[in-house]
Structures are given as structure tokens and as C-alpha cells.
Symmetry: C2
Subunit: 334 residues, 2 copies
DNA sequence: CTGAAAGCGCTAACAT
DNA sequence: ATGTTAGCGCTTTCAG
């Protein structure tokens, strides 16, 4: 059996230069700003380089330019199905722009979040911070120290992308009212969540405008179990329809209703938010679809802008509209 | 309003050296091999360094040592709930070992996977490749070029961690047989999947041993819709129980049964695999729990071993046993 | 135990 | 359009 050779060290710019009969700067330029070179040189050097299997060394380039070629995407919990689409989009877009992404998971813990942010500061050119759980002041301070774009967190002076669930929520209320519902419950999400406040407010205001009674239930951790518990609360409130902070809660509520033998949408109607697992429930969940993937893409766009130009206008705020997706968990009031 | 100062550049080893009245090598050693120095020197320099807010520059160190301090975790689809636990565990463990992680998403596309692997080769010290869709030859070639650990892919000569669903599958068959089921369907997953083959085989063999009839259904994409479709196939086969390749399929099958008014577990029993969303279904899904998080942790362990010592023993194969978790979708045969 | 000096591989003025 | 020459910030022999 042939013994494995020790891994061959990669060819450097120097050996390519020698082989091509040009200077190292020329080779360097071929890979960074080819437009400054004669086409023939570019072609020639490229050919030699590929033949030798040359690839620019990342760390060396980083050291020279001060650009790491890497951004971070930080989320509270990668296992929460809300995040993968934004991560994925962010990643793909960054990659297209020549940047790698590191993913950070804060485990929903503000202390870990802060820690991570500090560590990442030296390893990345900038960070996309999704659904930050940090106090506003901390976010602002971090934004002072380097390029930072927020997703679903509204801090003035820090560039941010917001998935705006309000339009969808209003549609949901309209839809329910049109079906004859006169009393509606809102199943709240985490108390400190920007999104929750936004969604709740949209529901309340629209209900008020339409003369529909609304009961706001206590804050809930956005998971299945809490949703299950919420089913009882909805029933106790005497509501005939409920809008939940998110799909996980809505799905839990569905299960809770099933346990109690309450028919959905026959006896009560349920609406979710985020459209993240809507099609996996039974019956398929009527929900508010937010453009989360687009949020990831836009966040990276914005971030890369700031990486290029540290002194761009910080106070940018993008709102991404949402809309109601009708499926099978809403029906006429009993 | 005070104008924001341009970002202050981080202090280098040089300024720390000057401030501490020592040479740069000493400062360097304080951060890399402090045991070579007098305790008092270490203490003194450390103090100065923290006061100045000095942090070793990553890229510079990488250039010098050839160690990037970074590993990659590559998965087919970050949105597939099977992966987050392994990613999360891998990440946490790597971080503890002083390594950052980049996450790669191949979008289930072998071409993208290969591409990504090439790009990552120069940016990381090694990669954990989860559920690779690449041909065996390609995997082997990549393993020659640098530290690589596989998860849920069994290629001889490449270190690998396998979540072994066979024990759990056997338990499932035993469980169903004990409940009086005599005809059982296996809902197959992707045709090229190592896991599917393993699971199917375990089911078939155990059924044969027990004298239980088994129908193997066609390959399915592991998602909800296909599971829904599978419900009809299970019924058509005349089976009174089904074991699905994974939880997504099982959950879909649940929905499919509900649509047809077939009671679970009254009329048919359903078992999933992976225990990834089991508790979010209604009724809660009986499923095979695999130790996926542990797989992530172990993979990183193994990988870091190879990063330290490029010539360790390549042919390591870890099997992580699984077991059946009883919940509410299995019951006596009708 | 500590210092001096030579790079690691690449880019960026500055020349030409 | 291309070559020359310094570094980027850190580690690492080699001396002392």
C-alpha cells in the first residue's frame, strides 16, 4: 500500500510569479484587480496559476488588507425554525459577495450574546444580529465598534431590517371579523420581543376600529407546549378565534384544541404568524407570511455597504410587509 | 452632538511590548506559551495587555502558524430540523476548544457541496461533513486533502460518526409485534441515503425474525407532503402499522390519516425516527431517538484530534446507539 | 528566561 | 501596464 504523502503545501504567489515570468504584484493584481492589467497578461498568469493549483491565501490577504472576508450571523437559537431561512439567505448572499459567514448561536442568553459579539468583533468584518435580546444601550454600543445590522430589532441609529407583521395581522383581523367573529384572543409571545409588541398592537388597534372585542393573553414562550396551554386560556376567555404570536404557539393551540375535542375551524378559528411550519400542521394553518429570507438578504446587503464604507448613513430602517395566507384553520364563527 | 470618532485601531503586540518594557517575543510568548516565561513577567505583561485592551490578531497568528483556528460544519439543509442539534453541539464544542465554526449549507446539491468543500479547504483547519450527498470517491479524495470527519456517512478509511438507528428500529418492531401487529409498512426515505438503507434493513430483518409481514414503500423525499401521500400507500398495502424513515414523513402520515378519518393509534399505528419534532405532533409521536447532538460533539472531538496530528489513525468509526421513545401514536392492532 | 531578526503570503504605495 | 519595496501582526529559530 502506498504511504500517504504529507499534505503538499500550497503554491504561493511567488512561485506563480516565477513560473509566469512576472512580478508578484502582477500575480496579486490578477486576483484582486484584473482590470488594471493587459488582458493577455491576465490570461497567461491565470493559466499558469490554475495549472499550479494556486489559490490566494486568505489569512495573508486579510493581514495585508485588514479585511477578513467574513461576516457573522448571530441568532438566539438555530433550532428555532424561524431562523434558518434568514440564515440561509444571508449566507448565500454573503457568499455571492465573496464573504464567508460564521454562525453564532446565543442560546437565547443575553450574556452569551454579548460574549459572542465581543469574540466576533476581531474575527469578522461585521455582524448581522437577528432578534437580539440585548438591552438597547448594549446594542448601540456594539454598533459604535463596527459594522452591525439588526434584524427584527428596532434601535434608532442602528441600521435595521424589520419583518413587519402588522399588515398581515390587520388582514387577519379583517378576515376573522368578516367571518363573523366578535371576540378574539391574542396569544402573546415573549414579553421583551419587539415583534410581539408590534403584532399585539396591530391586532388591538384593528379590533378596536372594527368593534371586535379582544382579550390579550399573558406572555408565552413561543413553543408547542405553551401553545397547548394557551388553548385553555382562549376557551376560558370566551373567544371564538385566536391569533397567536407565532406558528409554534398556533400549532400548540391546535393540539390543545384537539385534546379537548374542540373542532378547528368548526368551533374556534386559529391564526399563526411567520408561515414557518404552517403547511406541516393538520389542518394546514392559516398564518401571516413575513418575508424572512428577504430580511436576511437585505441585512447582508446593508452590512456589506457599511463594510465598504464605514461612514455611511447609520439610520436606515427597512420594513418588509407581510400578508395573510389563508389555509384551513379559520372558518365562520359558530 | 459629538461626532463619532473613526474606529480606533486595536493595539498591537508592539505597543504592549513597549508599554511593558519587554520585547515583542515576550509578549507573544505570554499569549502562546506562557510556561516558558517567569511568572512575574507573565503577570506583568498580562496586566498591561488587558489595560490596553490588547487581543491577539487572529489573521496574523494564522499567517504565522498556518493554523486558522476555524473549522467548518457542512450540512445539506440548515432548515431541516435534523441538523440544528448537531450543528449547535459541534459549534459549542469547537468554541470551547478555541475554534470558531463556519456553517456551510449545500442546499442538498452535490455540486454545491463539492464547491463549498473546495472553498472551505483554504479557510478552515478541517471540516465536519454531515450527511454528505457526494459519491464515495469524492469524499475519499477530499479526505486526502485535509482533516475531515463524516457524520452519518459510512466511508471506509474516513473517520466517521454514525447515528445508529438500527437498535431503535428493532425495538420499534418488537413493540409493534407485541401490540399484535402482523403486517407492517416501512416508509422509505431518499434512495441514496445511508440512514435509509440501515433503517430499512433493520426493520426487514427483525420482522422476518418475528414472522411479521413487511411492505417496503417506495422512496420518499423526507417531508410532510410525501408523508401525507404515504398514508394512502400504507392503507393500500393493508398494513396496520407503519415505521417511517423520519419524523417529517411520520408527521405527514399522521396528517394523511386524519384527512381520511383513520384514527391513530386506534386503527393504525405510526412510528417516526429522529425524535426531532415528535412532541409537536398530535397525538405526540412514538419515535426512535438518536443521539444527534452527541454526534456533533464527537465529530468535533475527532476532527480536532486530526487537526493536531495529521497522521492519526484514519479509520475510526463510532456508532451511537438509538432507542425507542414511546408516546401516543402506537396502540393495539385492530 | 528573554531579545533580535527573519519571515508567513499577500497588498499597496511609489516608481518606471 | 508592470515592477520594487515595504510592511500587515504575529511566531519562531537562534543567540545570549
Amino acid at each position: 500500500m502506498a504511504r500517504r504523502e504529507g499534505r503538499q503545501k500550497a503554491p504561493t504567489i511567488k512561485v506563480v510569479a516565477a513560473a509566469a515570468g512576472v512580478s508578484t504584484s502582477t500575480v496579486s493584481r490578477v486576483f484582486s484587480r484584473p482590470h488594471l492589467l493587459k488582458e493577455s497578461t491576465v490570461a497567461h498568469v491565470t493559466e499558469i496559476a490554475t495549472r499550479l493549483g494556486y489559490v490566494p491565501h486568505h489569512a495573508a490577504r486579510a493581514l495585508s488588507t485588514g479585511r477578513l472576508g467574513m461576516i457573522a450571523v448571530v441568532v438566539p437559537d438555530i433550532a428555532n425554525p424561524f431562523f434558518p431561512p434568514v440564515i440561509r439567505a444571508a449566507q448565500a448572499h454573503a457568499f455571492a459577495g465573496g464573504f464567508s459567514t460564521v454562525l453564532g448561536d446565543t442560546d437565547e442568553d443575553p450574556a452569551k450574546e454579548l460574549d459572542l459579539l465581543v469574540k466576533l468583533e476581531q474575527r469578522t468584518d461585521g455582524v448581522v444580529l437577528v432578534s437580539s435580546r440585548l438591552p438597547e444601550q448594549a446594542v448601540r454600543e456594539r454598533a459604535e465598534r463596527g459594522p452591525l445590522v439588526l434584524v427584527n430589532r428596532d434601535v434608532a441609529g442602528v441600521p435595521r431590517i424589520l419583518v413587519d407583521s402588522a399588515p398581515g395581522m390587520r388582514e387577519a383581523v379583517d378576515h376573522l371579523a368578516a367571518l363573523g367573529h366578535r371576540h378574539l384572543a391574542y396569544v402573546s409571545g415573549p414579553a421583551s420581543s419587539w415583534s410581539d409588541e408590534q403584532r399585539r398592537r396591530a391586532v388591538q388597534e384593528r379590533c378596536a376600529a372594527l368593534g371586535v372585542t379582544t382579550t390579550v393573553l399573558r406572555p408565552h414562550r413561543p413553543d408547542h407546549d405553551e401553545g397547548r396551554a394557551a388553548a385553555a386560556e382562549i376557551l376560558a376567555a370566551g373567544a371564538t378565534a385566536a391569533i397567536a404570536f407565532d406558528d409554534a404557539l398556533a400549532q400548540g393551540a391546535l393540539a390543545g384544541m384537539a385534546e379537548r375535542g374542540v373542532a378547528v375551524p368548526g368551533e374556534v378559528s386559529i391564526v399563526g404568524c411567520d408561515d414557518i411550519l404552517a403547511v406541516r400542521t393538520y389542518p394546514p394553518l392559516t398564518t401571516v407570511h413575513g418575508r424572512t429570507a428577504e430580511a436576511g438578504r437585505l441585512a447582508v446587503d446593508l452590512l456589506l455597504e457599511f463594510v465598504e464604507d464605514h461612514d455611511g448613513d447609520r439610520d436606515r430602517r427597512h420594513l418588509l410587509p407581510s400578508s395573510l395566507v389563508l389555509r384551513a384553520t379559520t372558518g365562520r364563527a359558530p
